[in-house]
Amino acid sequence: MTQTVFIEAINHATKEEMRKDSNVFIMGEDITLSVYGATQDLLSEFGDTRVLDTPLSENGFVGAAVGASLVGKRPLVETVSSFMWVAMDQFISQAAKMRYMFGGQAKLPVTFRVSMLYGSGAAAHHSDRNYPMFMNMPGMKIIVPSTPADAKGLLKTAIRDDDPCIVFEDGNLYGTRGEVPDDDDHLVPFGVASILKPGTDVTIVAIAGGVIHALAAAKELESQGVSAEVIDPRTLVPLDKKTILDSVEKTGRLVVVDPAHKVCSAASEISSIVAQEGFWSLQAPIQKVAAEQVHIPYSQALEKLIYPDKDKIISAVNNTLES
């Protein structure tokens, strides 16, 4: 175990997997000078055939990654959530649909690393938290790490996985630290939620950057005598329903924390699953704590108001307890 910063853990995972398998290569904008912070020293170690600065053509290079994956390569692509819109067709029509459409002939071991840079005045064009849209479309595995160890272990699993994976990296976590196993084969499996804090009174399922707020809320609640269980699904596709349903069976109460816009969010989905499959465990209304349904305002006086935070989570928990 080594204390590692989240974004370094991503860099380490990339290097280890590139060393291990020469079919892995990486492309993205300005990655050789590591402008987004996760790709440092890749060029010097792996050379410019495997580390490619791309033109500003996301649809083109996302599609190129898909095509390269079809014929035996394992591309890793770096981009930003808000730049996925211009490349949407290649994500949806090709990456997601190809295997099924071709009756299983296609294998697409391609991984997309996508930063979500919200929360720091980047405004509407740079602040998307758009994993729920990708959950709606079958065919892509959706990964949302919340700790450095998971960032590393899930990315490594994604690179070795034979299906299209999108790792949504929460920019608010890039600077966080944590213990990361030194093992080169530290893999975190998909579809296994982690219980970050056990508890008995209420279940808080939290996603990506929502996790730190949930943990802070749980801590404060603990001091008020409320025992919250905090669950991080870690992957949204596949989703570990069982851990969530088991927890709700125990606590009878559910709060879902999601930094995405609240309508048709991951929180909506998890709520709907529990309302169907865990209904009889529920002793109170399910609370969704997600971003307000407005765009991301630039002004710091406004922006933070719209995301889930500790206080909103605590009040949602209190709502479930009062009922």
Partner: protein, 329 residues
């Protein structure tokens, strides 16, 4: 260019195979044996056949909604193609893809795409893999005059050029996108003129002449294998039939004249090639007739094959989603 006699004959055979395949498709479609959209390639056979025969089995192609000609030209199995149109398990995609998504990865057919322009980046990626891996395969992608106006084409051609990828962009200019003339939607006279915007050769070819298509493609392949980068080839051609089967019943009015159609039919690609082979003494009229008949017989057999194949079982709907499976929600 000195072209091997076997290839010259194979050209004719493949063109007939496509033509007869499409004729059978039209027949069984209008008889209601399957109902989904299908886009006949009749009239354009020389484009796919001439270009695909310049490739090896280890080279890749990707295509579009007008999707039967490309895989057949590359050597695909017409039984599996026809069974796919019928939505049967023996189809190329086990009935999951249908007409617009034929694919045979085992012989380099990376699949057709229903979204116009969408396979262009994908094929470019296969070329990128070739370069990264130090391999010598090339990748060729078919797209229409209409598709040339998609951003995906622009981005891909630029990428292939700056990265010097072994990619051939093969524009099948059949003059129309559904009912819209390319003259009203493409701002230049020839799609191939756009090559200038990407610093790659742009070659305008008579798409009714399979040898001209073959020669242009051989040159592009050669260039690509030598590491000299991509080429844009435009095959000028014409579609004889409706954009897709049944569209004639739907649209309100005409968009091209019977004279135009007749004019183009005078330069039928099969006829041109057949006459040439006969005049060069390579085949007799009887040989040609035999090829026509044999290929028709094979297409009839393909229909039989498709009819006799099973429909997929209900549980198969959940299969083929993932290479490394996960539980379905």
């Amino acid at each position: 260019m000195d072209i091997n006699k076997d290839i010259l004959v194979l050209m004719l055979e493949r063109m007939w195979l496509i033509r007869n395949f499409e004729l059978k498709v039209m027949e069984v479609h209008s008889a209601g044996e399957f109902a989904a959209a299908a886009h006949p390639y009749i009239g354009e056979e020389a484009v796919a056949v001439g270009s695909c025969l310049a490739l090896k089995d280890t080279d890749y192609i990707a295509g579009n909604h007008r999707s039967h000609g490309h895989p057949i030209a590359k050597g695909g199995d017409i039984n599996r193609a026809m069974a796919e149109l019928y939505g049967k398990v023996d189809g190329y995609c086990k009935g999951k893809g249908g007409s617009m998504h034929l694919a045979d990865f085992s012989i380099g057919i990376l699949g057709e795409s229903g979204i116009v322009g969408s396979s262009v980046p994908v094929a470019t990626g296969a070329g990128l893999a070739s370069k990264i891996g130090g391999d010598d395969f090339v990748s060729m992608v078919f797209f229409g005059d209409g598709a040339s106006n998609q951003g995906a084409c622009h981005e891909s051609m630029n990428l292939a050029s700056v990265w010097n990828l072994p990619v051939i962009f093969l524009c099948e200019n059949n003059q129309f996108a559904v009912t819209t003339s390319f003259k009203d939607t493409v701002a230049v006279d020839h799609v191939s003129d756009r090559a200038a915007a990407y610093n790659m050769p742009g070659v305008l070819v008579d798409g009714q002449d399979c040898i001209a298509m073959y020669e242009a493609t051989v040159q592009a392949v050669d260039r690509a294998r030598k590491g000299e980068g991509p080429t844009l080839i435009e095959g000028l051609t014409y579609r004889y039939e409706e954009h897709s089967l049944g569209l004639g019943r739907v649209r309100r009015g005409e968009y091209r004249s019977q004279e135009d159609i007749d004019e183009w039919k005078k330069r039928d690609p099969i006829h041109i090639h057949q006459e040439r082979l006969i005049s060069q003494g390579i085949l007799t009229t009887e040989d040609c007739k035999k090829i026509e008949d044999d290929t028709m017989k094979r297409c009839e057999d393909a229909v039989e094959f498709a009819r006799n194949s099973e429909f997929p079982k209900p549980e198969e709907v959940f299969e083929d989603m993932w290479a490394n499976p996960i539980p379905l929600p």
